[in-house]
Amino acid sequence: MSPAGGLAFMSSWRGLVESLSDAVCLDSDLLVRWKETTEPAAGVSSSVLRQGVLIFSTPTPDLATIRIPSIDQALLETSGPYAGIAIDQTQPAVIALVNALTSGAAGVEPCDPFVLDLVALSTAYVELF
């Protein structure tokens, strides 16, 4: 299903539910799930407690976060005051993700939880939960 098709489905589904309810619908979410049919073993160095956080500016102007589970530690800077903490923004994989988030990919441009576009990367580093 295309993103546009998903939105159309959600709109029609919302109308069907509203006709059965006294409540007023303020917003609705469409979840798109992806799952391996056969689960592979976890990566040797993966950790659910380690996240990469990419902080983007938004037009308001405000800031918004995008999180990468178990960020690859090879992407962290190796020198300077933030060695081992800051994500190296010159890495091709990082550049590709940032471009996709700010310019869109496959016809979809992501936004923050308050429907504001992601404009430019402000900073990126690792957080430990």
């Binding site: 005051p81 933030y82 903490i85 800051a86 580093y125 430990l128």
Partner: protein
């Protein structure tokens, strides 16, 4: 759940020095406040989300180092220490503001002309004599 507090008027903040090695842990603590479940209402969540993402962004600004460098840039390095790398300089390698005033005084005197400079003016420029409604540096220069 939290209600976003009313802003203090006039705005005030706290400057907190966080060791860099704690940034990933402190950032994660701030990140918990991004969740909708941390806040009472949607409006509180929107304000709280913005505030705590801003705090996470500030963790990467090395703000105190930048402030110190800005202040040192205003003071200017003493000539004897210009060859010392910036990150190896200590505070005594920079001019203090009395040095700066000492350098400025001859320039001001030269611009004013050959007349004798009253002691009271010199004391005022050095900050040794407080200004008042009837005694200030501008009046004495005119």
């Amino acid at each position: 759940m939290y209600t976003y507090p009313a802003p203090v008027v006039p705005p005030a903040c706290v400057l907190l020095a966080i060791p860099v090695e704690l940034v990933p842990i402190v950032g994660a603590l701030f990140a918990r406040m991004e969740r909708r479940s941390a806040w009472s209402t949607a409006a509180d969540h929107q304000l709280g989300y913005k505030a705590f993402v801003e705090l996470q962004d500030q963790l990467m600004n090395a703000c105190i180092d930048e402030l110190i460098q800005e202040i040192r840039a205003i003071r200017g390095v003493k000539p004897d220490y210009e060859s010392v790398p910036v990150d190896e300089r200590t505070t005594d390698m920079y001019r203090d503001f009395n040095d700066l005033i000492g350098h400025l005084l001859p320039i001001i005197f030269a611009l004013r002309g050959p007349e004798d400079i009253p002691d009271s003016l010199i004391e005022a420029l050095r900050g040794e004599t407080p200004a008042s409604a009837t005694r200030n540096v501008v009046d004495q220069l005119i």
